[in-house]
Symmetry: C2
Amino acid sequence: MDDSKGMLIVVSGFSGVGKGTVVQLVFESLPNLQFSISCTTRKPRSGEENGVNYFFMSEEEFEKKIAADEFVEYTKTFTNYYGTLKSEIDKPLARGVDVLLELNVVGAMNIKKMYPDSVTVFISPPSIGALKARLIGRGTESPESIERRLKEIENESKVIDKYDYCVTNNIARTCADEIVNIIRSEHLRVSRQNVNKIFISEE
Amino acid sequence: MDDSKGMLIVVSGFSGVGKGTVVQLVFESLPNLQFSISCTTRKPRSGEENGVNYFFMSEEEFEKKIAADEFVEYTKTFTNYYGTLKSEIDKPLARGVDVLLELNVVGAMNIKKMYPDSVTVFISPPSIGALKARLIGRGTESPESIERRLKEIENESKVIDKYDYCVTNNIARTCADEIVNIIRSEHLRVSRQNVNKIFISEE
Protein backbone atom coordinates (compact mmCIF):
# COMPACT_ATOMS: atom_id res chain seq x y z
CA MET A 1 0.00 0.00 0.00
CA ASP A 2 0.96 3.58 -0.62
CA ASP A 3 2.37 5.39 2.42
CA SER A 4 1.25 8.68 0.97
CA LYS A 5 -2.47 7.87 1.19
CA GLY A 6 -4.41 9.18 4.15
CA MET A 7 -6.31 6.99 6.59
CA LEU A 8 -10.04 7.10 7.22
CA ILE A 9 -11.15 6.95 10.87
CA VAL A 10 -14.81 6.48 11.75
CA VAL A 11 -15.97 7.32 15.26
CA SER A 12 -19.37 6.34 16.65
CA GLY A 13 -20.95 6.28 20.07
CA PHE A 14 -24.29 6.36 21.81
CA SER A 15 -26.16 9.66 22.03
CA GLY A 16 -24.95 11.54 25.08
CA VAL A 17 -21.67 9.63 25.43
CA GLY A 18 -19.67 12.83 24.94
CA LYS A 19 -18.33 12.10 21.44
CA GLY A 20 -18.13 15.81 20.58
CA THR A 21 -15.72 16.68 23.41
CA VAL A 22 -13.57 13.61 22.81
CA VAL A 23 -13.34 14.19 19.06
CA GLN A 24 -12.46 17.87 19.67
CA LEU A 25 -9.51 16.80 21.87
CA VAL A 26 -8.38 14.28 19.24
CA PHE A 27 -8.19 17.09 16.67
CA GLU A 28 -6.17 19.27 19.05
CA SER A 29 -3.59 16.45 19.30
CA LEU A 30 -3.44 15.69 15.58
CA PRO A 31 -3.24 18.89 13.54
CA ASN A 32 -2.95 16.91 10.30
CA LEU A 33 -6.30 15.20 10.88
CA GLN A 34 -9.27 16.58 8.98
CA PHE A 35 -12.89 16.45 10.10
CA SER A 36 -15.33 15.33 7.46
CA ILE A 37 -18.40 17.48 7.86
CA SER A 38 -21.60 15.50 7.39
CA CYS A 39 -24.82 16.79 5.87
CA THR A 40 -28.03 16.59 7.84
CA THR A 41 -31.62 17.73 7.67
CA ARG A 42 -31.96 17.90 11.45
CA LYS A 43 -32.14 21.27 13.22
CA PRO A 44 -28.87 22.65 14.65
CA ARG A 45 -28.54 22.23 18.43
CA SER A 46 -27.49 25.21 20.51
CA GLY A 47 -23.87 26.07 19.70
CA GLU A 48 -23.77 24.11 16.45
CA GLU A 49 -22.69 25.97 13.34
CA ASN A 50 -23.34 25.31 9.67
CA GLY A 51 -20.15 24.25 7.90
CA VAL A 52 -18.45 23.50 11.21
CA ASN A 53 -20.42 20.72 12.93
CA TYR A 54 -22.64 19.83 9.98
CA PHE A 55 -23.83 21.15 6.67
CA PHE A 56 -27.43 21.81 7.71
CA MET A 57 -29.91 21.66 4.84
CA SER A 58 -33.54 21.12 3.92
CA GLU A 59 -34.91 17.74 2.91
CA GLU A 60 -35.28 19.08 -0.62
CA GLU A 61 -31.61 20.10 -0.84
CA PHE A 62 -30.53 16.75 0.62
CA GLU A 63 -32.58 14.78 -1.88
CA LYS A 64 -31.10 16.85 -4.72
CA LYS A 65 -27.63 15.73 -3.60
CA ILE A 66 -28.79 12.11 -3.43
CA ALA A 67 -30.04 12.38 -7.00
CA ALA A 68 -26.72 13.93 -8.08
CA ASP A 69 -24.85 10.97 -6.50
CA GLU A 70 -22.85 13.29 -4.25
CA PHE A 71 -22.95 11.04 -1.17
CA VAL A 72 -20.60 8.21 -0.37
CA GLU A 73 -23.23 7.02 2.12
CA TYR A 74 -26.41 8.38 3.64
CA THR A 75 -29.02 7.13 6.08
CA LYS A 76 -32.42 8.25 7.27
CA THR A 77 -32.98 7.96 11.03
CA PHE A 78 -36.36 8.81 12.50
CA THR A 79 -37.29 11.82 10.42
CA ASN A 80 -33.84 13.11 9.47
CA TYR A 81 -31.30 12.43 6.75
CA TYR A 82 -27.57 12.14 7.51
CA GLY A 83 -25.00 11.82 4.73
CA THR A 84 -21.29 11.97 3.93
CA LEU A 85 -20.22 13.81 0.80
CA LYS A 86 -17.71 12.03 -1.46
CA SER A 87 -15.79 15.28 -1.82
CA GLU A 88 -15.27 15.45 1.97
CA ILE A 89 -13.41 12.10 1.97
CA ASP A 90 -11.71 11.25 -1.28
CA LYS A 91 -9.88 14.52 -1.89
CA PRO A 92 -8.07 14.75 1.48
CA LEU A 93 -7.27 10.99 1.48
CA ALA A 94 -5.62 11.30 -1.94
CA ARG A 95 -3.53 14.22 -0.60
CA GLY A 96 -2.29 11.99 2.28
CA VAL A 97 -4.45 13.64 4.92
CA ASP A 98 -6.20 11.49 7.54
CA VAL A 99 -9.94 12.04 7.69
CA LEU A 100 -12.17 11.51 10.73
CA LEU A 101 -15.88 10.89 10.34
CA GLU A 102 -18.41 10.94 13.17
CA LEU A 103 -21.22 8.58 12.17
CA ASN A 104 -24.00 6.48 13.62
CA VAL A 105 -23.59 2.70 13.45
CA VAL A 106 -25.40 2.33 10.13
CA GLY A 107 -23.23 4.97 8.49
CA ALA A 108 -20.08 3.51 10.06
CA MET A 109 -20.81 0.02 8.73
CA ASN A 110 -21.57 1.46 5.28
CA ILE A 111 -18.20 3.24 5.23
CA LYS A 112 -16.36 0.12 6.46
CA LYS A 113 -17.81 -1.85 3.57
CA MET A 114 -16.72 0.74 0.99
CA TYR A 115 -13.37 1.56 2.65
CA PRO A 116 -12.17 -1.74 4.19
CA ASP A 117 -8.91 -0.03 5.25
CA SER A 118 -10.81 2.45 7.40
CA VAL A 119 -10.46 2.23 11.19
CA THR A 120 -13.71 2.15 13.15
CA VAL A 121 -13.82 3.21 16.80
CA PHE A 122 -16.82 2.95 19.11
CA ILE A 123 -16.93 5.24 22.15
CA SER A 124 -18.75 3.54 24.99
CA PRO A 125 -19.89 5.02 28.31
CA PRO A 126 -18.48 3.70 31.63
CA SER A 127 -22.02 2.47 32.35
CA ILE A 128 -25.43 2.56 30.72
CA GLY A 129 -27.03 4.06 33.83
CA ALA A 130 -24.72 7.09 33.70
CA LEU A 131 -25.45 7.52 30.01
CA LYS A 132 -29.22 7.53 30.50
CA ALA A 133 -28.94 10.10 33.29
CA ARG A 134 -26.75 12.31 31.11
CA LEU A 135 -29.09 12.05 28.14
CA ILE A 136 -32.11 13.07 30.21
CA GLY A 137 -30.11 15.79 32.02
CA ARG A 138 -29.06 17.41 28.73
CA GLY A 139 -32.58 18.80 28.55
CA THR A 140 -32.42 19.50 24.81
CA GLU A 141 -34.89 16.86 23.74
CA SER A 142 -38.53 15.95 24.18
CA PRO A 143 -39.53 12.86 26.20
CA GLU A 144 -40.43 11.13 22.92
CA SER A 145 -37.04 11.95 21.47
CA ILE A 146 -35.30 10.60 24.61
CA GLU A 147 -37.40 7.45 24.38
CA ARG A 148 -36.31 6.98 20.77
CA ARG A 149 -32.66 7.56 21.68
CA LEU A 150 -32.80 4.94 24.43
CA LYS A 151 -34.22 2.49 21.91
CA GLU A 152 -31.43 3.48 19.51
CA ILE A 153 -28.82 2.79 22.23
CA GLU A 154 -30.25 -0.69 22.68
CA ASN A 155 -30.03 -1.38 18.94
CA GLU A 156 -26.58 0.14 18.52
CA SER A 157 -25.16 -1.90 21.38
CA LYS A 158 -25.76 -5.05 19.36
CA VAL A 159 -23.24 -4.08 16.68
CA ILE A 160 -20.31 -2.82 18.78
CA ASP A 161 -18.54 -6.09 18.04
CA LYS A 162 -18.43 -5.10 14.35
CA TYR A 163 -16.10 -2.18 15.17
CA ASP A 164 -12.31 -2.45 15.15
CA TYR A 165 -11.84 -0.72 18.52
CA CYS A 166 -13.92 0.19 21.55
CA VAL A 167 -12.80 2.93 23.94
CA THR A 168 -14.51 4.00 27.16
CA ASN A 169 -15.23 7.66 27.78
CA ASN A 170 -14.62 7.89 31.48
CA ILE A 171 -12.32 10.93 31.32
CA ALA A 172 -12.54 12.71 27.94
CA ARG A 173 -8.79 13.51 27.81
CA THR A 174 -7.82 9.85 28.44
CA CYS A 175 -10.37 8.63 25.92
CA ALA A 176 -9.08 11.10 23.31
CA ASP A 177 -5.47 10.00 23.96
CA GLU A 178 -6.51 6.40 23.37
CA ILE A 179 -8.00 7.32 20.00
CA VAL A 180 -4.87 9.33 19.11
CA ASN A 181 -2.74 6.26 19.97
CA ILE A 182 -4.98 4.03 17.86
CA ILE A 183 -4.54 6.35 14.86
CA ARG A 184 -0.75 6.51 15.34
CA SER A 185 -0.44 2.75 15.82
CA GLU A 186 -2.58 2.00 12.78
CA HIS A 187 -0.13 4.00 10.67
CA LEU A 188 2.60 1.59 11.82
CA ARG A 189 0.74 -1.43 10.44
CA VAL A 190 2.80 -3.20 7.80
CA SER A 191 -0.27 -3.19 5.53
CA ARG A 192 -0.25 0.63 5.56
CA GLN A 193 3.47 1.03 4.92
CA ASN A 194 5.86 0.45 2.07
CA VAL A 195 8.16 -1.78 4.15
CA ASN A 196 10.68 -2.05 1.35
CA LYS A 197 11.46 1.66 1.54
CA ILE A 198 14.45 1.05 3.84
CA PHE A 199 16.14 -0.79 0.98
CA ILE A 200 15.49 1.92 -1.56
CA SER A 201 18.29 4.41 -2.19
CA GLU A 202 20.78 1.80 -0.94
CA GLU A 203 23.29 -0.08 -3.07
CA MET B 1 -12.81 -12.99 23.97
CA ASP B 2 -11.88 -12.93 27.62
CA ASP B 3 -10.56 -9.56 28.87
CA SER B 4 -8.67 -11.34 31.61
CA LYS B 5 -6.31 -13.13 29.22
CA GLY B 6 -2.88 -11.66 28.57
CA MET B 7 -1.61 -10.67 25.14
CA LEU B 8 1.41 -12.13 23.39
CA ILE B 9 3.74 -9.64 21.68
CA VAL B 10 6.52 -10.87 19.41
CA VAL B 11 9.36 -8.48 18.53
CA SER B 12 11.90 -9.16 15.78
CA GLY B 13 14.52 -7.11 14.00
CA PHE B 14 17.74 -7.41 12.08
CA SER B 15 20.95 -8.13 13.98
CA GLY B 16 22.41 -4.85 15.17
CA VAL B 17 19.19 -2.86 14.89
CA GLY B 18 19.21 -2.13 18.63
CA LYS B 19 16.31 -4.41 19.67
CA GLY B 20 17.77 -4.91 23.15
CA THR B 21 17.74 -1.22 24.09
CA VAL B 22 14.28 -0.65 22.61
CA VAL B 23 12.78 -3.70 24.35
CA GLN B 24 14.37 -2.61 27.66
CA LEU B 25 12.63 0.79 27.38
CA VAL B 26 9.31 -0.89 26.55
CA PHE B 27 9.55 -2.88 29.78
CA GLU B 28 10.29 0.27 31.79
CA SER B 29 7.04 1.79 30.46
CA LEU B 30 4.89 -1.31 31.01
CA PRO B 31 5.54 -2.84 34.43
CA ASN B 32 2.85 -5.47 33.88
CA LEU B 33 4.64 -6.81 30.78
CA GLN B 34 6.68 -9.97 31.23
CA PHE B 35 9.72 -10.94 29.18
CA SER B 36 9.70 -14.51 27.97
CA ILE B 37 13.26 -15.76 28.33
CA SER B 38 14.29 -17.92 25.38
CA CYS B 39 16.63 -20.88 25.52
CA THR B 40 19.71 -20.92 23.34
CA THR B 41 22.84 -22.95 22.77
CA ARG B 42 24.84 -19.91 21.63
CA LYS B 43 27.54 -18.44 23.86
CA PRO B 44 26.55 -15.44 26.02
CA ARG B 45 27.76 -12.09 24.68
CA SER B 46 29.50 -9.68 27.00
CA GLY B 47 26.97 -8.41 29.57
CA GLU B 48 24.41 -11.15 28.95
CA GLU B 49 23.28 -13.17 31.95
CA ASN B 50 21.79 -16.64 32.23
CA GLY B 51 18.13 -16.47 33.28
CA VAL B 52 17.96 -12.77 32.37
CA ASN B 53 18.66 -12.45 28.64
CA TYR B 54 18.50 -16.15 27.80
CA PHE B 55 18.61 -19.55 29.40
CA PHE B 56 22.01 -20.57 28.06
CA MET B 57 22.47 -24.33 27.70
CA SER B 58 24.40 -27.04 25.91
CA GLU B 59 23.14 -28.71 22.76
CA GLU B 60 22.55 -31.86 24.78
CA GLU B 61 20.37 -30.08 27.35
CA PHE B 62 18.44 -28.35 24.56
CA GLU B 63 17.76 -31.61 22.74
CA LYS B 64 16.56 -33.17 26.00
CA LYS B 65 13.95 -30.40 26.25
CA ILE B 66 12.92 -30.97 22.62
CA ALA B 67 12.40 -34.66 23.40
CA ALA B 68 10.35 -33.76 26.51
CA ASP B 69 8.11 -31.49 24.35
CA GLU B 70 8.90 -28.48 26.51
CA PHE B 71 9.13 -25.99 23.63
CA VAL B 72 6.26 -24.13 22.03
CA GLU B 73 8.63 -23.46 19.11
CA TYR B 74 12.33 -23.82 18.39
CA THR B 75 14.60 -23.18 15.44
CA LYS B 76 18.20 -23.93 14.52
CA THR B 77 20.08 -21.05 12.91
CA PHE B 78 23.63 -21.54 11.69
CA THR B 79 24.99 -23.78 14.43
CA ASN B 80 22.78 -22.72 17.35
CA TYR B 81 19.38 -23.68 18.72
CA TYR B 82 16.87 -21.08 19.88
CA GLY B 83 13.62 -22.07 21.59
CA THR B 84 10.66 -20.77 23.58
CA LEU B 85 9.50 -22.79 26.57
CA LYS B 86 5.75 -23.41 26.86
CA SER B 87 5.94 -22.61 30.57
CA GLU B 88 7.31 -19.12 29.78
CA ILE B 89 4.20 -18.22 27.77
CA ASP B 90 1.09 -20.07 28.78
CA LYS B 91 1.23 -19.52 32.53
CA PRO B 92 1.53 -15.70 32.48
CA LEU B 93 -1.04 -15.38 29.66
CA ALA B 94 -3.56 -17.36 31.69
CA ARG B 95 -2.93 -15.05 34.67
CA GLY B 96 -3.75 -12.04 32.46
CA VAL B 97 -0.15 -10.90 32.11
CA ASP B 98 1.12 -9.69 28.71
CA VAL B 99 4.19 -11.55 27.48
CA LEU B 100 6.85 -10.16 25.13
CA LEU B 101 9.03 -12.50 23.09
CA GLU B 102 12.13 -11.46 21.16
CA LEU B 103 12.45 -13.87 18.24
CA ASN B 104 13.98 -14.19 14.81
CA VAL B 105 11.62 -14.21 11.84
CA VAL B 106 11.26 -18.01 11.75
CA GLY B 107 10.39 -18.15 15.45
CA ALA B 108 8.01 -15.18 15.10
CA MET B 109 6.09 -16.80 12.24
CA ASN B 110 5.89 -20.09 14.18
CA ILE B 111 4.39 -18.27 17.17
CA LYS B 112 1.93 -16.34 14.97
CA LYS B 113 0.66 -19.64 13.54
CA MET B 114 0.11 -21.13 17.00
CA TYR B 115 -1.14 -17.93 18.65
CA PRO B 116 -3.07 -16.09 15.92
CA ASP B 117 -4.06 -13.40 18.48
CA SER B 118 -0.42 -12.52 19.08
CA VAL B 119 0.87 -9.15 17.89
CA THR B 120 4.04 -9.22 15.79
CA VAL B 121 6.29 -6.16 15.52
CA PHE B 122 9.32 -5.82 13.28
CA ILE B 123 11.96 -3.24 14.25
CA SER B 124 13.62 -1.85 11.14
CA PRO B 125 16.69 0.41 10.89
CA PRO B 126 16.41 3.93 9.40
CA SER B 127 18.62 2.63 6.57
CA ILE B 128 20.43 -0.58 5.65
CA GLY B 129 23.75 1.23 5.27
CA ALA B 130 23.64 2.46 8.88
CA LEU B 131 22.78 -1.04 10.06
CA LYS B 132 25.73 -2.64 8.27
CA ALA B 133 28.12 -0.05 9.70
CA ARG B 134 26.76 -0.68 13.20
CA LEU B 135 27.02 -4.44 12.86
CA ILE B 136 30.66 -4.24 11.78
CA GLY B 137 31.45 -1.59 14.40
CA ARG B 138 30.09 -3.77 17.23
CA GLY B 139 33.31 -5.78 16.91
CA THR B 140 31.94 -8.83 18.70
CA GLU B 141 31.84 -11.12 15.69
CA SER B 142 34.20 -12.70 13.19
CA PRO B 143 34.15 -11.61 9.53
CA GLU B 144 32.45 -14.92 8.67
CA SER B 145 29.78 -14.31 11.29
CA ILE B 146 29.20 -10.77 9.97
CA GLU B 147 28.93 -12.17 6.44
CA ARG B 148 26.28 -14.66 7.64
CA ARG B 149 24.37 -11.92 9.44
CA LEU B 150 24.28 -9.74 6.34
CA LYS B 151 22.90 -12.70 4.41
CA GLU B 152 20.35 -13.21 7.20
CA ILE B 153 19.29 -9.55 6.94
CA GLU B 154 18.66 -10.03 3.24
CA ASN B 155 16.52 -13.11 3.88
CA GLU B 156 14.63 -11.58 6.82
CA SER B 157 13.79 -8.46 4.83
CA LYS B 158 11.65 -10.59 2.53
CA VAL B 159 9.18 -11.49 5.27
CA ILE B 160 8.65 -8.11 6.98
CA ASP B 161 5.30 -7.90 5.21
CA LYS B 162 4.12 -10.92 7.23
CA TYR B 163 4.34 -8.90 10.46
CA ASP B 164 1.46 -6.90 11.91
CA TYR B 165 3.51 -3.76 12.55
CA CYS B 166 6.83 -2.29 11.48
CA VAL B 167 8.54 0.41 13.57
CA THR B 168 11.76 2.26 12.73
CA ASN B 169 14.50 2.50 15.34
CA ASN B 170 15.80 5.96 14.68
CA ILE B 171 15.68 7.13 18.30
CA ALA B 172 15.32 4.21 20.74
CA ARG B 173 12.97 6.11 23.09
CA THR B 174 10.61 7.06 20.24
CA CYS B 175 10.67 3.53 18.84
CA ALA B 176 9.92 2.08 22.30
CA ASP B 177 7.02 4.54 22.76
CA GLU B 178 5.59 3.38 19.44
CA ILE B 179 5.68 -0.25 20.58
CA VAL B 180 4.09 0.72 23.94
CA ASN B 181 1.30 2.51 22.01
CA ILE B 182 0.80 -0.53 19.78
CA ILE B 183 0.41 -2.77 22.85
CA ARG B 184 -2.05 -0.34 24.50
CA SER B 185 -4.07 0.12 21.32
CA GLU B 186 -4.26 -3.61 20.65
CA HIS B 187 -5.89 -4.03 24.08
CA LEU B 188 -8.64 -1.67 22.87
CA ARG B 189 -9.52 -3.90 19.92
CA VAL B 190 -13.08 -5.10 20.13
CA SER B 191 -11.86 -8.66 19.48
CA ARG B 192 -9.84 -8.50 22.72
CA GLN B 193 -12.60 -7.05 24.88
CA ASN B 194 -15.87 -8.17 26.30
CA VAL B 195 -17.83 -5.28 24.78
CA ASN B 196 -21.02 -6.30 26.53
CA LYS B 197 -19.53 -5.61 29.95
CA ILE B 198 -21.03 -2.09 30.04
CA PHE B 199 -24.48 -3.68 30.09
CA ILE B 200 -23.66 -6.09 32.87
CA SER B 201 -24.65 -5.05 36.41
CA GLU B 202 -27.28 -2.74 34.89
CA GLU B 203 -31.01 -3.28 35.07
